[in-house]
């Protein structure tokens, strides 16, 4: 199972806690993780990435294992520690304000 940490507002929308677990069949990439998230939590469709283009929303970032994966290809494999469930895949909202 892949562990995914959601930002606060998306936890509220999906009625879940900070971390959710999703089953990702096949190759584990940003895209396959987000596909799985949207199947399990359809109310999150359109909130993390655009409905049509599937582009990451500009004020959201993806991290794992201390690395910023936001600008990696959505089809690139994520770190092994995410695949094994040792580390979570983090979806983080940009910090606003001063």
């Amino acid at each position: 199972m892949i562990r995914v940490v959601l930002p606060q507002h998306l936890r509220t929308l999906a009625h879940v806690g900070a971390e959710v677990q999703v089953d990702v069949p096949g190759k584990v990439t940003q895209r396959s993780i987000l596909d799985a998230i949207e199947v399990q939590y359809p109310m999150l469709r359109g909130t993390i990435r655009d409905h049509v283009t599937l582009q990451r929303r500009p004020f959201l970032r993806f991290f794992a294992c201390g690395e910023d994966l936001s600008h990696e290809s959505p089809d690139a494999p994520v770190p092994d520690a995410v695949v094994t469930g040792t580390e979570p895949f983090l979806i983080i909202g940009a910090i606003a304000g001063g």
Binding site: H9, T12, P42, M43, G46, V52, R57
Partner: protein, 394 residues
């Protein structure tokens, strides 16, 4: 017993204010959707317990919420808890999927509009500004969105289809965003002719359909906007809001960026009725529920300040359909007040003594249960108010 339900959208959630017909004691519910911008909430005239809410965020985009019990509980249409997956494993609900229609069959090419600097800019969906439930059909609701377009749902908000004839009018490259974005913020459905709908866009102007939304025509003749190369142009005007009394839907009142305007022929032509207002800039305008010639505005100091003049919060009322205006300030702050009242933040109820409501950027929601003569705050310290609607419950 009759009562009212006031639906308040703010920068940090929605609030529902309820009272009996006296409108003296209030119950406050909320925040609903805490932390999100709630651009608009509106109840269905067919089923007052059905309320739609536009929940939006720069981070997470658009979410549509619906209540079928008067605001006690909410769902995203199509994705009720426990029924979140469709037959194929994918979600049924697309309540936040607003996709411009570019199909050959029903759509129009996604053209560009004018950007702030005068260059052309592609159309991009950002949020829903205004929700207008059908007057007659239980599951039909319209949405006015940014970048400007009108969408319709016929299934209670689950799925949305653009009425692309508006965006496809052909004048899109001359439309431009106002300070708040290029938003379609006003939708008025003619109660005597449901195929006739009026809409308004900042900054494109007003449009009307007479065929249920298939085709639209600009209705801006008589508007004068000095910031345009051609001040009397067909489109490009920054219309802030339009209102009418349902008993006389051909008589429209408009608060434009500057100028308060009136039309007596369903928008075919307009004339100015700003008269003796201290400033003819403002955002809101509304009409008394029982007196179609009694109208209300809140003058705002512009162009750079956008707060009420002289530190005094004053509503102005005309009982003559414009030109002659009286100041209404009893119960409103008359010193050190520097709030704004945004375009969708005024509403009227239809009780025998017509109630007037408005919300401010400072988080106050005021009510006058006697048509504007006396005002009291219902609440003083909400987040900045984006919209106010009222339902009269009988």
């Amino acid at each position: 017993m009759s009562g009212v339900r006031v639906l308040v959208g703010t920068r940090k959630g929605a609030f529902i204010l309820t009272s009996d017909g006296k409108r003296e004691k209030w119950n406050v519910s909320g925040p609903h959707f805490a932390g999100w911008e709630i651009y608009h909430l509106k109840g269905s005239p067919v089923d007052p317990n059905r309320i739609y809410a536009s929940q939006t965020s720069g981070w997470f985009g658009q979410v549509l919420q619906r209540s079928d019990d008067g605001g006690k509980t909410w769902i995203q249409p199509g994705t009720p808890p426990g029924e979140q997956k469709g037959p194929g494993g994918m979600p049924k609900g697309e309540s936040n999927k607003f996709v411009y229609d570019v199909s050959k069959e029903t759509g129009k090419p996604l053209t560009t509009h004018q950007w702030y600097d005068g260059t052309q800019h592609p159309w991009e969906f950002k949020r829903v500004w205004h929700l207008e439930p059908s007057l007659t059909e239980h599951d039909t609701v319209f949405a006015g969105v940014e970048d400007a377009a009108i969408f319709r749902s016929k299934d209670g908000g689950k799925t949305w289809q653009e009425l692309s004839g508006l965006r496809g009018h052909g004048t899109g490259p001359k439309w431009q965003p106002g300070a708040g974005g290029m938003c379609l913020h006003t939708i008025l459905i003619d109660p005597k002719n449901p195929k006739r709908i009026f809409i308004a866009i900042s900054a494109a102007g007003a449009f009307r359909t007479d065929d249920g939304g298939a085709t639209w025509k600009p209705i801006n003749k008589g508007l004068n906007s000095p910031f345009l190369p051609d001040p009397g142009a067909e489109v490009g005007h920054c219309v802030h809001h339009i209102a009418f009394n349902g008993s006389r839907p051909d008589t429209l009142f408009m608060q434009k960026h500057w100028d308060v305007m009136r039309s007596d022929n369903a928008g075919d032509s307009w004339h100015e009725v700003s008269g003796n207002l201290p400033t003819d800039f403002g955002f809101v305008i509304d009409v008394h529920a029982h007196e179609p010639e009694t109208i209300y505005v809140v003058p705002i100091k512009s162009d750079s300040e956008h707060f009420v003049p002289d530190g005094k919060l004053r509503v102005y009322r005309s009982k003559t359909g414009g030109n002659d205006w009286e100041e209404l300030s009893k119960g409103l702050p008359q010193q050190d007040c520097y709030v704004n009242v945004l375009r969708d933040a005024m509403a009227v109820d239809s009780l025998d003594s017509c109630g007037i409501y408005f919300g401010t950027s400072g988080g106050q929601v005021y009510c006058s249960p006697d048509a504007g003569n006396n005002w009291k705050p219902i609440v003083r310290d909400l987040p900045g108010v984006l919209s106010v609607e009222v339902q009269t419950l009988r």
